[in-house]
């Protein structure tokens, strides 16, 4: 198991990186930013996959993880697609 402090370090540094890059996003793109970051938060799908496919996890746990796979995949697929759809509309004439 990874050291707690290592995970915390990663967490804090990632927050700072997030602040730095996102501060530069213009208001025009705030909606795509939200739907795009929504898609990224679908990363939970990884945790869900690891548990849903693990035969050592009791059945109830695997069922919960299965439902989590569905929710997170909706986020991932829906999020990136709808963001792409929106961004394609932002054009300069």
């Amino acid at each position: 198991m990874t050291d707690l402090i290592t995970l915390l370090t990663v967490f804090v540094l990632a927050i700072f990186v997030g602040f730095e890059v996102i501060t530069k996003v213009p208001p025009t793109l705030h909606t795509p930013l939200m739907s795009g970051s929504n898609a990224i938060s679908g990363i939970t799908v990884i945790g869900a996959l690891l548990l849903a496919g693990n035969a050592d996890v009791p059945e109830l746990g695997r069922v919960l993880a299965f439902v989590a796979v569905i929710f997170a995949t909706i986020n991932v697929v829906g999020g990136f697609l709808v963001t792409g759809r929106m961004l394609n509309m932002f054009k300069r004439k």
Binding site: A14, I15, A39, G42, V69, T73, F80, M86
Partner: protein, 513 residues
């Protein structure tokens, strides 16, 4: 694939996520950014699936079902419904985090030995934030779809969701309680489920004793979290926490509506990321922590931008409502000298104008007037040679950037979408400003009257332009509930009409000029 190789793939995915957000800083690079993010996600998922031996049934089924629903929703949604969709997706993220934490807890307690302290605390955070996000997002979705906290008659589909959701929450908890037996935990769960289901059926936004109730539930959530840490092997404690946090999520969002919606949507966006990060601590996975904290940071920044654009603190948005104060002047008094106008008169003004600004608000979205607005702008540019731009307030609409997406959908070039500060700098040189469906964000009282509920809120200073045309159905107040003296200014003309109809009439009038 070795764990080392998997971790290396996660590193690549993390870099791609950061590039995604970085490239979002300009419309030119944003499409590339979104592809980078999607590629990162694909790499992370494939690496995970190659990392060990799996039973594939649930994996394949879950991805197929979720992928189909997600693709269908994303490709069919109308741009005007984007706030609802984003609200809903936030909720799914929260739900996924709760479920993964729950499954991880079940796995940990089935294997030998007690879960570590870190895992227990992370599980509590994951359940708490995830559940608040899920139930809060459902409320936000329901309010944006106008079937929660409203008095009017609902469409059948709205009724189906409204009663279906409340029924589902109560029925599923009841089924769980009956199958596992009654004790203090399960009765607590049932009480929470009834409270959630009940509040969601209320027809008004005010809850008696709302603030005290919120405080009590915050304390209750912490207590339930403590129980989970003390009894990590007891799934009852975990689900009790989830339900108490659900009550909290409902209460925190229930009384927030209308123009405060962008804040809530941004905040829930942030929570969905933080929930994912907490889940990363539960299952010991760096990838979740990095991606989750990027999203968390993004949501926090948007929340703070939205709050600043209303000159209110987050606590003020969450715990109190805007409304007229004792000092608020009487509407009849303010509106004594209102002048109304017609399409032909406005067309004549546009003929001689050199610079025209259009200020859109939520009313434009409701009327779906964005295409008619664009038609007029193009016509005025081509026929009269005027320069037309759009002045967009940061909180216009129901989510951050709402107006921009609608106008982009209507094929408006993005360099014509101007920010508030940019427009305010040169608003004096504007010949005609057309305000469509906006009210509080152009109310000069914010500048002039320190006792007003919107005092200090940055506004678009349209009153300083040469002429202002306000398209509005009536003189009814905006979200803040106060009259707008702009409507009675000497240089203001009111065009009483539905937004779409008004622009269609204007288009005809301009063509005939």
């Amino acid at each position: 694939m070795s764990q080392q190789a998997v971790n290396f793939c996660y590193l690549i995915a993390a870099v791609l996520f950061i590039l995604d957000l970085k490239w979002m800083s300009h419309p030119r690079t944003a499409v590339r950014g979104n592809r980078a993010g999607a590629l990162g996600m694909l790499i992370a998922i494939v690496a995970t699936l190659l990392s060990g031996q799996f039973e594939w049934g649930y994996i394949a089924g879950g991805i197929a079902i979720g992928g189909a629903i997600g693709a269908l929703a994303a490709l069919r949604v109308k741009m005007t419904s984007m706030p609802e969709l984003v609200g809903l997706f936030n909720g799914f993220g929260g739900a996924a985090s709760v479920l993964v934490a729950g499954a991880a807890l079940i796995m940990a307690s089935s294997s030998l030995g007690e879960p570590s302290d870190r895992m227990k605390i992370a599980t509590v955070l994951s359940a708490l934030i995830g559940s608040v996000t899920f139930f809060g997002s459902y409320v936000a979705f329901g309010k944006l779809s106008e079937f929660l906290a409203v008095k009017w008659k609902l469409y059948p589909w709205q009724k189906a969701i409204k009663f279906g959701f409340s029924g589902l929450v109560i029925a599923s908890v009841l089924a769980y309680v009956v199958s596992t037996g009654f004790d203090a935990y399960t009765i607590g769960m049932l009480v929470c489920a009834v409270v959630i289901g009940g509040i969601l059926l209320l027809k008004k936004e005010a809850i008696p004793g709302g603030t005290a109730l919120k405080m009590a539930v915050v304390v209750g959530s912490l207590a339930a979290g403590y129980l989970v840490v003390q009894n990590p092997d007891d799934p009852h404690a975990f689900w009790l926490l989830v339900m108490v946090a659900g009550v909290l999520g409902v209460l925190l969002t229930w009384s927030i509506g209308g123009a405060d919606m962008p804040v809530v949507i941004a905040l829930l966006n942030s929570y969905s990321g933080l929930a994912a990060a907490a889940t990363g601590f539960v299952i010991d996975n760096n990838m979740l922590i990095i991606a989750g904290s990027l999203v968390g940071a993004s949501g926090i920044i948007l929340t703070s931008i939205m709050c600043k654009a209303m000159n209110r603190s987050l606590l003020n948005v969450m715990f109190s409502r805007l409304g007229p104060t004792a000092d608020t002047p009487d509407a009849d008094e303010v509106y004594k000298n209102v002048k109304s106008t017609s399409a032909d008169e406005v067309a004549m003004m546009l003929e001689t104008a050199q610079r025209v600004s259009i200020v859109p608000g939520y009313g434009m979205a409701v009327a779906q007037a964005q295409h008619a607005v664009r038609d007029l702008a193009n016509l005025v540019e081509e026929k009269f040679g005027a320069e037309v731009e759009y002045a967009i307030h940061p909180v216009a609409g129901r989510m951050p950037g709402h107006m921009n997406v609608l106008l982009a959908e209507a094929d408006v070039s993005y360099d014509k979408l101007k920010e508030m500060d940019e427009v305010n700098g040169t608003i004096e040189t504007c010949d005609v400003v057309i305000v469509v469906g906006a009210n509080d964000v152009v109310n000069p009282v914010a500048r002039t009257d320190p006792s007003s509920p919107i005092a200090g809120m940055p506004i678009i200073d349209v009153d300083k332009a040469r002429t202002v045309v306000v398209i509005k159905r009536s003189l009814s107040p905006g979200f803040a509930g106060i009259p707008n003296p702009l409507f009675a200014n000497d240089n203001t003309l009111m065009f009483f009409s539905d937004a779409k109809k008004a622009f269609q009439e204007l288009n005809t009038a301009v063509k005939e000029t």
